[in-house]
C-alpha cells in the first residue's frame, strides 16, 4: 500500500515536470513571449520561407522517407499547428525564399524557381525554372543560402571548400596557399538576376569575397544593403598547439556579421577576427602568431559573437507584433558549436541585436534558448545530444517568428501577447 502511494506521488511529480518542461515547447523566452511546436519531425529542416497567407516552405538537407525535400506546411484550421503537410523535390539543400508567387529553392549546386498559385500550392513541382546552375559544391561548406534585394537580384553564398585554404585541408603543418585559389569561384557571395534562367558563373558577379562560409544572409531595407553572418575557421589549437590552447581555440575566432557592399572583402583566409583583442589577426597558416594584425583593406565585422556557434540564419524583423525594441532588429539562429571541444559547446539558441537606422544600436542578447532540451544552464557537450538545433527563421505577415530545427525537424512558432 505504502509502495503504491509512493509510486503515485512519484508518477505525479514526473508527470508535472514533463508538463512543465513542455511549457513554451521547452524554450526560454523574454517575458510576454510564448512558443509552441508548429510541426515536428519533418526531417533536417534548414531554411524556411513563409507566404503572405502563412504557408511555410521548409528546405530539407536530405529528402525525407517519402523522397521529398521541399516541405509545404499549412495551418488550415488556424490553431497554430500545421495540419496539412505535403512536399515535393528530391534534392537536398539549404536555401529557400519566397517573394510573391515565386518560390526559390537551392540544391548544393543550383537554384530553382517554382510558381505558386493563389492558394500557395506549387504549380510546377516537377518542372521548375533553373535560375542558376553549375555552382561549386565540393562537400565542405557546400550549402547555398539565398536572399533577394528589392530590385529582384538574388544573392547566393558559395562557401569555401576548405577550413583555412591550406595546401592540404585540415592538416597540421600544411601552409596557407598564397593567393588562395579558392576565392575566384567560392568563399564569397555572388549576385545573379532573380528571374533569368540557366545562369552560370559567367552571368553572375562576385559581390563580396573573403567569406569562408555564409549561411545566414538578409537584405536590410533601411540601410538598403546586404548583411551576412560568417562561420569562422576551426581548429587553431589542433594545428598550432604552440600558439593556441584549447581554451583559446574555444573563444577564437569570433563568429562575425558584416554589412557588405559590392566589391567588399572580409579577409578569409588571410586573417580572422579576435573578439577579445577586437582586432583582425593574421591566420597562423599565413605566418600569424596570434598577435600580428593584418587585413588593413578588409572589412571589420559589424558584430562579433563567441566562436564556433554557427550562425545559420539572419532575419531583420519588420513586424509590429513584438515590442518596439525588436522592430528592424536582427534575429540570428545559432545551431550550435562542435569545435569548442573538449570544452562545453555554445550556441543552440536564437540571438537578437537591436538596430536603428540600419546599424546595431545595442549589444546582442539571447532571445530564445533551450532548444537543446537539456536542463536550464546545462551546456551541450556533444552536438548529437541537442534535441533541436535552431537553423531557419521566417516572419509571418502578422509578425510571428518561426524557427526551424535541422536536427530532427521541429518548427517552433514564437508569438507575443500584449
Amino acid at each position: 500500500m505504502k509502495k503504491q502511494l509512493l509510486l503515485m506521488v512519484f508518477g505525479c511529480i514526473v508527470g508535472l515536470s514533463v508538463v512543465h518542461a513542455q511549457e513554451n515547447a521547452g524554450l526560454k523566452l523574454p517575458a510576454g513571449f510564448k512558443a509552441h511546436l508548429f510541426a515536428e519531425n519533418i526531417g533536417q529542416a534548414r531554411h524556411i520561407a513563409i507566404t503572405q497567407s502563412g504557408v511555410i516552405f521548409a528546405k530539407l538537407n536530405y529528402p525525407n522517407k517519402d523522397g521529398k525535400s521541399i516541405i509545404r506546411l499549412e495551418d488550415k484550421d488556424k490553431d497554430g499547428v500545421a495540419d496539412n503537410i505535403t512536399g515535393w523535390a528530391n534534392y537536398g539543400g539549404t536555401g529557400i525564399y519566397v517573394r510573391g508567387d515565386n518560390l526559390y529553392a537551392s540544391s548544393d549546386d543550383a537554384v530553382y524557381q517554382y510558381k505558386l498559385d493563389a492558394k500557395d500550392e506549387v504549380l510546377n513541382a516537377s518542372a521548375p525554372n533553373t535560375i542558376i546552375k553549375g555552382l561549386l559544391s565540393r562537400r565542405q561548406h557546400a550549402s547555398k543560402s539565398i536572399t533577394l534585394d528589392p530590385k529582384g537580384n538574388i544573392y547566393v553564398n558559395i562557401g569555401a571548400y576548405s577550413n583555412a585554404c591550406q595546401e592540404k585541408d585540415r592538416t597540421p603543418g600544411s601552409k596557407g596557399m598564397m593567393p588562395c585559389p579558392i576565392l575566384d569561384s567560392a568563399g564569397g557571395v555572388w549576385k545573379f538576376d532573380g528571374l533569368k534562367t540557366n545562369q552560370t558563373y559567367v552571368d553572375g558577379k562576385r559581390y563580396a569575397t573573403g567569406l569562408r562560409n555564409v549561411i545566414g544572409l538578409d537584405w536590410n531595407t533601411t540601410s538598403n544593403s546586404l548583411f551576412v553572418t560568417q562561420h569562422g575557421r576551426d581548429q587553431l589549437n589542433s594545428f598550432f598547439p604552440a600558439l593556441y590552447t584549447n581554451e583559446q581555440n574555444a573563444e577564437l575566432p569570433g563568429e562575425t556579421m558584416y554589412e557588405v557592399k559590392e566589391g567588399d572583402d572580409c579577409g578569409w583566409p588571410y586573417i580572422y577576427y579576435d573578439p577579445m583583442q577586437k582586432k583582425k589577426i593574421i591566420s597562423p597558416e599565413y605566418g600569424g602568431d596570434g598577435k600580428k594584425e593584418g587585413g588593413n583593406n578588409v572589412l571589420d565585422p559589424i558584430v562579433a559573437f563567441p566562436a564556433h556557434m554557427a550562425p545559420m540564419s539572419l532575419l531583420f524583423y519588420k513586424g509590429d507584433q513584438f515590442p518596439a525594441k525588436y522592430k528592424d532588429g536582427a534575429f540570428i539562429a545559432f545551431h550550435g558549436s562542435w569545435n569548442r571541444a573538449p570544452l562545453p559547446q555554445e550556441g543552440y539558441f536564437v540571438a537578437f541585436i537591436p538596430f536603428k537606422g540600419g546599424k546595431p544600436s545595442g549589444d546582442w542578447e539571447i532571445f530564445a534558448n533551450g532548444f537543446s532540451g537539456l536542463p536550464a544552464d546545462t551546456k551541450v557537450v556533444n552536438p548529437r545530444n541537442a534535441k533541436a538545433r535552431p537553423c531557419g527563421l521566417a516572419e509571418s505577415a502578422d509578425g510571428a517568428l518561426y524557427v526551424s530545427d535541422d536536427s530532427k525537424g521541429a518548427i517552433f512558432k514564437i508569438t507575443f501577447n500584449k
Binding site: 533536417q44 538537407n61 536530405y62 562537400r139 565542405q140 561548406h141 557546400a142 592540404k168 585541408d169 585540415r170 592538416t171 597540421p172 581548429q235 589549437n237 589542433s238 562542435w338 569545435n339 571541444a341 573538449p342 557537450v381 556533444n382 552536438p383 548529437r384 545530444n385 538545433r389 535541422d406 536536427s407
Partner: protein, 130 residues
C-alpha cells in the same frame, strides 16, 4: 605444478596489464587526435564529422580500411548509415603502429561499441603491405 600455475598467473597478469596499458594509450591518442572532431561521446557532428559510436564501418571487420583512414586520412565524402559527412580527415603520419592499434581498439570498445580489438601485428602487417 605450482611453478606452472605461477607462470600461468604471471602471464594472465601480464596480459591484463598489457591490455590496460593499451587502453591508456588508446584513450590518450583519442583525446589528443580524434576527440575534437569525433567528440567525447564518439557521436561526431551531424553532416560534418562522421560518428564512430554505433557506426557499422567502425565496428565492422574491414580493419584494413580503418587502419588506412587513420594513417593516410580520408578526403572524400563519407557515406555512412544513410547520412553524409563533409569534413576532411587528416593523415596521421606520426602515429606508431602501437598507437594505431591502441586507438582503434579503444574506439571499437568505447561507448556502445563492442568489437574485437585490433592487434599490433595486424596493423604492422597492413601498413607493410601498402
Amino acid at each position: 605444478m605450482r611453478k606452472k600455475l605461477f607462470m600461468c598467473l604471471l602471464l594472465l597478469v601480464g596480459v591484463y596489464f598489457a591490455q590496460a596499458q593499451n587502453g591508456i594509450i588508446g584513450e590518450k591518442v583519442y583525446k589528443t587526435k580524434c576527440l575534437v572532431c569525433h567528440q567525447a561521446d564518439g557521436g561526431g557532428v551531424p553532416n560534418l564529422n562522421a560518428p564512430l559510436d554505433g557506426a557499422t564501418n567502425v565496428v565492422g571487420s574491414d580493419i584494413a580500411r580503418l587502419v588506412k583512414i587513420i594513417r593516410y586520412g580520408y578526403n572524400e565524402r563519407v557515406a555512412l548509415d544513410g547520412y553524409y559527412y563533409s569534413n576532411a580527415m587528416p593523415a596521421n603520419p606520426a602515429l606508431t603502429s602501437t598507437e594505431i592499434a591502441a586507438v582503434l581498439s579503444y574506439i571499437r570498445n568505447s561507448w556502445s561499441n563492442k568489437a574485437p580489438s585490433v592487434t599490433l601485428a595486424q596493423v604492422q602487417k597492413l601498413l607493410k603491405k601498402k
